[in-house]
Structures are given as C-alpha cells and as structure tokens.
C-alpha cells in the first residue's frame, strides 16, 4: 500500500538521520579539546549578551541588501540588453557591457571592495562621498549587477527565436518585441537563479565590514575582540541562516514549480 510504504520510508529516513547525527555529535563531543572549543564558540552567556547588539547591527546588512537588490534588478537587465544588442552603431555599448561583466565577475569581491572603498574616496575629489556605507553599496551593486545580467541574458537567450520572429512579423519593432514578448517570458524563467544570486549577495554584505561599516559581522568581531570569545560570530552566523534558509527553500519551490510547468505544458 502506498501510505504504508510512505510511512515506512519516513521512519527509515528519520532513523538513519538520527544515527548519523548521534555519531557526528559523539565524534565531536568526545574529542579531547571539545570542552575548550565549546566554551570559545558556543557559550550561552556570550550568546545572550551578543544577540541584541549583533541583531541590531544586522539592520545595516538588511538596508544594504535591500537597497542593492532594488538597484541591481534594473541595472542587471540594462546590461543584459546592452549585451544582446546587434545594431552595429551601438557596438560600443555592447563592448562596454561585456568588459564590465568580465571585470566584475572575474575579480574577487574583496579586492573590488578595497579598491572602491578606500581608493576612490582617497582621490579627494569634491562631491564624491566618503561614507563607507555608500561605497559598500556601490561595490555590491557593481559586482552583483554583473552576475545578475548574466542570469538575465541566459533567460533571454533561452526564449526560442521564433517568438521574436512572430512578434516582428506583427510589425513590432525589435525593442517592442523584447519588451512585450521576449523579456516577460525570460523573467519567469530567471526568478529562481536570480533569487539564488540574492542569497549570495545577502551573505556578501558581511564583506563590507572591512570598510569599517559596523554591520553585523563587524559588530560580532568587536564583541569577540572585547571578550576573547568567538560566540558572537556564531550568533551572526545564526542570524544569516534565519534569513537565507527560507529564501533557499523558496528558490527550490519556485524551481520545482517551473520544472512541473515545463513538463506539463504541451510544448
């Protein structure tokens, strides 16, 4: 019977997970230095004292990634469109977009943060902001726009050329065909990989700590330095997980839905 075998499957899964968990816990717990490690990384007292401060600083991370995402969505699309332009007169735009993507995808994020966050304000040009939050935001937007533009581009290219041809045959211009026919279809397909990149972005907001922005990771480092205990860092890790795990599950669900739609469709 189907329900019986399902129940049996669940039982086996639970049991095997439990066995593995107990084995892992035993291995770690029985290691000679575990008591010291536990005290240094998982101290309940330090957890409860660090939580309000680390969680409070996380608000900076939230501001960073929400603002960045709002900027990245349109910028990434514009770069993707610039790269798919075929008109010879607009070749410089396409070349610029290509170089942009190659550069910001190719250089480690942390180097770009250093260069933009410390280098550009050091130029002392009037009117250029010195606020590290601003440069942190700019850096994340530049890096992730490059990634997201590639996601968009893959989506646009996954739409069969016959769709654009059908639109052009109706008398739509190339831009109209992209806007009303190609891009809306591409959007649906890119939502899961797009959210995936945003999970990466949310984690990478911790990188801007090197510019001196007191976000959650920096706050945890400050607390760690003051107490010689690593628990505040674990607190930060927990907060990141609370945000990213639901997002990851959402991506999985959307991707599965997309797959079903593809398989269920007549095409």
């Amino acid at each position: 019977m189907a329900t019986g075998s399902a129940r049996k499957g669940l039982l086996v899964a639970t049991l095997s997970t439990l066995v593995v968990a107990v084995l892992v816990a035993y291995t770690i717990g029985s290691s000679p230095a575990w008591p010291e490690v536990q005290k240094a990384f998982f101290d309940g007292r330090y957890f409860s004292t660090s939580l309000p401060k680390v969680a409070g600083a996380f608000f900076i991370n939230v501001q960073l990634f929400v603002l960045a995402e709002l900027l990245i969505l349109p910028i990434g699309l514009l770069i993707a469109l610039a790269r798919s332009i075929t008109a010879p007169a607009l070749a410089p735009l396409r070349i610029f977009a290509t170089i942009f993507v190659d550069f910001f995808r190719g250089v480690p994020s942390i180097l770009i943060i250093y260069v933009l966050g410390f280098g550009v304000p050091a130029l002392q040009i009037d009117g250029i902001p010195k606020d590290p939050f601003f440069w942190a935001l700019v850096t994340l937007v530049l890096i992730y726009s490059a990634y997201v533009s590639e996601v968009y581009r893959a989506g646009i290219e996954s739409i069969h050329p016959s769709q654009e041809r059908a639109a052009r045959a109706l008398g739509l211009t190339r831009v109209q065909a992209l806007r009303y026919v190609v891009v809306p279809q591409a959007m649906r397909r890119v939502i899961p990989p797009l959210l995936n990149d945003f999970i990466g972005l949310q984690k990478d907001t911790a990188l801007v700590s090197i510019l001196g922005v007191v976000e959650t990771f920096k706050q945890a480092q400050i607390l760690k330095a003051a107490s010689f205990n690593f628990t505040p860092l674990m607190t930060t890790a927990l907060i990141f997980l609370i945000i990213t795990i639901p997002m990851t599950r959402l991506v999985d669900r959307l991707a599965a839905k997309d797959r079903d739609a593809q398989l269920g469709g007549t095409r």
Binding site: S162, A169, L170, G171, L172, Q176, G265, R267
Partner: protein
C-alpha cells in the same frame, strides 16, 4: 472566384535568396491581385517557406524587388516594421506567445504596433476571435488549446493589424487530420470573404478547392503556374507532372498498403 484584373497587391520580381552558398530562391516572379488566393506547392526544401519569409520582410533578399500596393518595400527600410503590419503571416508552429492569454495575443499588435488603446485593441481582438469561433477561449492561455484552436488564434493574431495580404506557411503540417479540417475551413471562409492570400501547402485537395492560382516550386524556381484545373488536370512541365505523380502515388500506395493490412488482419482473424 474570378480573378480581378487590377494592380497587384503584392508583387515579387526576380527574387533571389542565398543561404551560405546555396541559392534557395532563384529569380522568383510572382504577383497577387486583390482578393486573389494563390497556393504554393512543391516538395520540402523547394523554397516555399523562404519565399514567404522574404515576402514578409523577415529576411533580407540578395536580389530582386518586392512591392506592396505598388510601392517598393525592403527588409532594410526604416519603414519595414510598418510594412510588416500590412502583411500578416502564420507559421507552421503557431508561435503564439505563451505568457499572454488568447485575447492578449491577438490584441498585442493593434495596441503596441498600431497604437490603439487597450480597450479598442481588445474589442478588435474579441471580434476577430468571435468570427473565428474562438470567443469562449479568449481568457485561456494558448497551451490549454488544441493545435487547431491555437492555429486559428494565430490566424486571428495575423489578421489583427488588418493586413492587405495574408501569408500562410504550411499551417496545417503540425496538426492531426481532424484539426487540419477545422483550420482549412477557416481559410476557406477567409477566402470567401475576399482576403488576399498566399498559401504554402501540402494539402493538394484544399489547394485545388480554394486557390485561384497554383504555383509549383522546385529548387527555388517557379516552374509552372496556372489555374487548379490546369495544374492538377493538365500540367505542362515534366517536373510538375513528376511531382504530382509522386504525390498521388504516395497517397495511392498508402491506400493500397492500408487495404493490404486490412486483408492480412482478416486472414489472421479467421485462423
């Protein structure tokens, strides 16, 4: 239908088209008078589809000229988008927009390309759908429709910009026989309503029935043209004769094979 003698709506003169080094269209001369229905017949690869795509300005041509209502038009023109609005084309694979409902598919070009208001575009779309017997499907998405219904939506979509000529590219080839009949019926009533049409088709009986003129294409050349009676009844060119002989022998041998299968089955059943 009697052919009306007037200036051609669509005229192709000396059309040449190359893919790579291969000459796919080799000097096509063809013109359509108003209300005329012309069927293109010929084997796969004879250039029928390419001819339609070039006539619709979807692809550049290598030589020759295309005129619409007496004016020269070309793929490279700045006004090519405007010209395409005056030409409707329906493809073998429907190519409906899957993210739009049926009525949105039909209303898109009137709204975006012709600049009608949303309400006016929808009104036009609904009238067209109603005339094609698809009124109750207006709010469905294309993938909920049968192939025949999808193809009729594609016809409605092509008609929505009120084109001067409708180009149809083997539009029944992807359909099963029952659905073929339904789509051909739609074309027949369009022909009766006076629509000028250029139809690439493998449906010989339909072509004989609906066309004012049949054109036989082979290797990118227009071999012979004439009334259905003339082409199907007394083709003059040996190549046309050979093509029609093969088409007939295929359908005849199909019938013969079916008869043989039936006999074998009955024999087996009796054992």
């Amino acid at each position: 239908m009697a052919t009306v003698k007037s200036a051609p709506v669509l005229a192709l003169k000396g059309l040449k088209k190359r893919y790579g080094g291969k000459l796919v269209l080799d000097g096509i001369n063809l013109s359509l008078a108003e209300h005329e229905v012309v069927c293109l017949i010929g084997a796969s690869g004879s250039g029928k589809s390419t001819l339609l795509r070039c006539a619709d300005l979807l692809e550049p041509i290598d030589a020759g000229q295309i005129s619409l209502e007496g004016e020269r038009v070309a793929f490279e023109d700045r006004s090519a988008d405007g010209t395409r609005r005056k030409l409707g084309i329906v493809f073998q694979g429907f190519n409906l927009f899957p993210h739009l409902t049926v009525v949105e598919n039909v209303a898109l070009a009137p709204r975006v390309a012709l600049g009608l208001t949303q309400a006016a575009a929808e009104r036009r779309a609904k009238e067209l759908l109603k005339s094609l017997g698809l009124a109750e499907k207006a709010r469905e998405y294309p993938d909920r429709l049968s192939g025949g219904q999808q193809q009729r939506v594609a016809i409605a979509r092509a008609l929505a910009t009120e084109p001067k000529v409708l180009l149809l590219d083997e539009i029944t080839s992807a359909l099963d026989p029952v659905l073929v009949a339904e789509v051909l019926e739609t074309l027949r009533s369009l022909a009766l309503s006076g629509m000028t049409m250029l139809i690439a088709t493998h449906e010989m009986a339909f072509a004989a029935d609906v066309a004012d003129r049949i054109c036989y294409l082979e290797d990118g050349r227009l071999i012979e043209e004439g009334t259905p009676q003339k082409i199907f009844g007394a083709p003059r060119d040996p190549r046309t004769k050979e093509f029609l002989r093969r088409v007939r022998s295929i359908s005849a041998s199909g019938a013969k094979r079916r008869a043989e299968t039936r006999v074998k089955r009955t024999v087996r059943a009796k054992r």
